[in-house]
Symmetry: C2
Subunit: 322 residues, 2 copies
C-alpha cells in the first residue's frame, strides 16, 4: 500500500514525504535514504558553497536509486551553485527565501521540476507566476528560517490561491498525524525538516541530534543572533530562524547590537564551536514539532513509519462518520 497524490505521481513516490534541504545537515546520504525509501530526498545546497555541495551531490548520485532533488536559498546561492546542482540532474530543484524568478527559467529549461517554498499567500501567487511547478507553504513553527504565518491556516489559503498547482505543507510536521492533516488541508504532501535532522543519516552533529530528541517546543526560540554571528549571512526581512535555546542565544538574544560589536571574537568562536559539536554555542535549528521526536532513527524507517501512520489514518477516515 502507499499514498497517492499529485506529488507522488510526479516523482513516482510511495509516500508524499519530502525531506527538507537543511544546510550542513541534509547531505547526499540522507537524501538518498529518503528517496530510496519512497519519499523525495533533498540535498542542501543552502548558501551555495560548492566545496560542501559537490561531494554531497556525488554521494546522492551514487546512492539514490530513485528521484532526488536539491535545495538552495534563493537570495544567497550564486548562479554557479545552481549550475553545479543542475549538472547532477536532480529531479527537482527547491528554492526558498527570495524571488524564484531569477532561477526559474534555468531550472525548467533542463526539465527539472521547480519547487518553490513560500511563507505568505501573495508569495505563492508570485512563485506560480515565475513558473513554480509545486509550491511549499511553510509555517512559522518550522525549524530554521521561516516567515510569520502558521502552517494550519496558511496551507488551505495557499491551496485556494494557486489551484490547481500542487501545494505541500511545511512547518510543524513530524509524524503521520501531521502528514494526514496536511492532506486534509488540501496539500499534496509534506516537507519535514526537524524530523529528518534527527535521522541516523543526517549530518547534524550527534550532540545536536541528542538535543532534538530531548527538547520540547518551549525550548525553541526565534532569533537573529545566529545569523548575526555567522557574519556573512545577511538574511533579509522577514525571515527569522527558530533554534533551540542554548547558552549562546540566551546570552545574546535581545542584545543584538552588542553582539554586532563583538563579532571579532564571537564569529571565529562560533565556527569553532560548530565544528566541535559544541551545541551550547552552535545553533541547533529546530521546529516546534520537536515535541514529537523521541529517538534518532534511520531515514528509511521514518519514511515508512510516517507514511504508514498517515495511510492508516486516511483509511480510517470513514470510521469517524456516524
Amino acid at each position: 500500500m502507499a499514498i497517492r497524490t499529485a506529488l507522488t505521481e510526479a516523482f513516482g513516490l510511495e509516500y508524499p514525504i519530502v525531506s527538507a534541504p537543511m544546510g550542513w545537515v541534509s547531505g547526499g546520504r540522507l537524501a538518498a535514504a529518503v528517496s530510496n525509501a519512497g519519499g523525495l530526498g533533498l540535498v542542501a545546497g543552502a548558501y551555495g558553497d560548492p566545496v560542501w555541495l559537490q561531494p554531497q551531490l556525488e554521494l546522492v548520485q551514487a546512492e539514490a536509486k530513485r528521484p532526488w532533488g536539491v535545495g538552495l536559498i534563493t537570495w544567497a546561492a550564486p548562479p554557479a551553485s545552481l549550475e553545479l546542482a543542475l549538472h547532477y540532474r536532480p529531479a527537482a530543484d527547491f528554492l526558498s527565501f527570495g524571488d524564484p524568478g531569477k532561477y526559474a527559467q534555468l531550472i525548467k529549461a533542463v526539465g527539472c521540476t521547480l519547487i518553490c517554498q513560500v511563507q505568505e499567500v501573495e508569495s505563492a501567487r508570485q512563485a506560480v507566476a515565475a513558473g513554480a511547478d509545486i509550491v511549499v507553504a511553510q509555517g512559522s513553527e518550522a525549524g530554521g528560517h521561516a516567515g510569520v504565518r502558521a502552517t494550519l491556516p496558511l496551507v488551505p489559503a495557499v491551496v485556494d490561491a494557486v489551484a490547481p498547482v500542487p501545494v505541500l505543507a511545511a512547518g510543524g510536521i513530524a509524524d503521520g498525524r501531521g502528514l494526514a492533516a496536511a492532506l486534509m488541508l488540501g496539500a499534496q504532501g509534506a516537507l519535514l525538516g526537524t524530523r529528518f535532522y534527527a535521522a541516523a543519516e543526517s549530518l547534524g552533529h550527534e550532540q545536536a541530534r541528542g538535543r532534538l530528541v530531548a527538547a520540547s517546543a518551549g525550548d525553541t526560540v526565534r532569533s537573529h543572533v545566529f545569523d548575526i554571528v555567522r557574519d556573512f549571512y545577511p538574511w533579509p526581512e522577514p525571515y527569522v530562524a527558530r533554534a533551540l535555546h542554548n547558552r549562546f542565544v540566551d546570552r545574546w538574544h535581545g542584545r543584538e547590537p552588542e553582539l554586532q560589536g563583538a563579532l571579532t571574537e564571537e564569529t571565529p568562536a562560533y565556527w569553532r564551536a560548530r565544528d566541535e559539536g559544541d551545541v551550547d554555542v552552535a545553533a541547533v535549528f529546530a521546529g516546534e514539532c520537536v515535541d514529537l521526536i523521541r529517538a534518532v532513527e534511520p531515514a528509511a524507517e521514518l519514511v515508512r513509519q510516517i507514511g504508514g501512520e498517515a495511510e492508516a489514518l486516511l483509511r480510517g477516515g470513514p470510521e469517524l462518520l456516524a
Copy 2:
C-alpha cells in the same frame, strides 16, 4: 450523516464543532444557533460582567434546544460570574487563561463538563490534574488572546500528553479542511472563533464583521495595545491578543509606554469607538484563518458547511491510498 468523536458522543452533537466564547461577540443567540445546528455553542462569560452575561444566558436558555456552554477567562472572572453561569445549567463550562484549579470543583460538583483551554503541553497536564474533562489546545494563530505555540504541532503533543482525555484543536481553523485536519492530528473536534465572529448571529459590530470578510492573515498583528487601553484588563504574560491592523494599533504598537501615559484621553475614546463600531480604533480580534472567511453567514449554515466538508474529506480518505 454526521461525524462521531468523543466530543459528539459527550454532548450528542452532529458535528465536533464548538463556537468559541468571544467577549461581547458570542451572545446567547449565536450559541443557541450553533447548538441547534448540531455543534456546541459557548456563550462568552469573558471577564465575568454579570450585566452583559445574564441577559445572554436568558437568551441561550430560551432559544437552545440542545446542550450549550459558557466560557470564562480564568484569571479575570470572579466567583460570582461562575455561580451566575452555573445557575443556568450549561452542559459545559469552558475556562481559559489561568489555573483552572480555582473553579474546577465548583463546576464539576453540579455535573457540568469542564473544558479547559491551554496554550502549552505542560498546562494541558495541569488542567487534567485539576479535573478537566476535555482539553482545548489553542495555537497562536488564533484571534484574540493566545499563547505562542502553533496549532499543528501543539495538538498531537497535547493529545499524547493527556491521553485518553479528549482534546480539541483551536486556532487557525475556519472550514471543513481545518476540522478534518484537526481530527487527523488526534483531536476529537475543533473550536472556531473568528469564523463565528463573522456569523449572522454574532454580536460583533457590522463594521467589524465586514473587516473580517475583507481581511487577510497579513492584516493581523499580535499586540498588547488593546489590553493597555482597556485599562482594567491587566492580562498576565504570556498571553497576547491578535487583532486586525487599524489606525489605533498602527499608532500605538511599539509605543506602549506612551500609550500608558495617555490613558486619561485614550481609554474613554476607545470605549466610545467600540460602542459606535468605529473599527479604525476599536479592536477587531481575528485569527490568521481570516484568509478563509469570505462572507458573513448564518451560524447554522456554517456548522453544516464546515461539518459537511469535513465529512466528505474523511469519507474520501481511502481514495488517497494506492
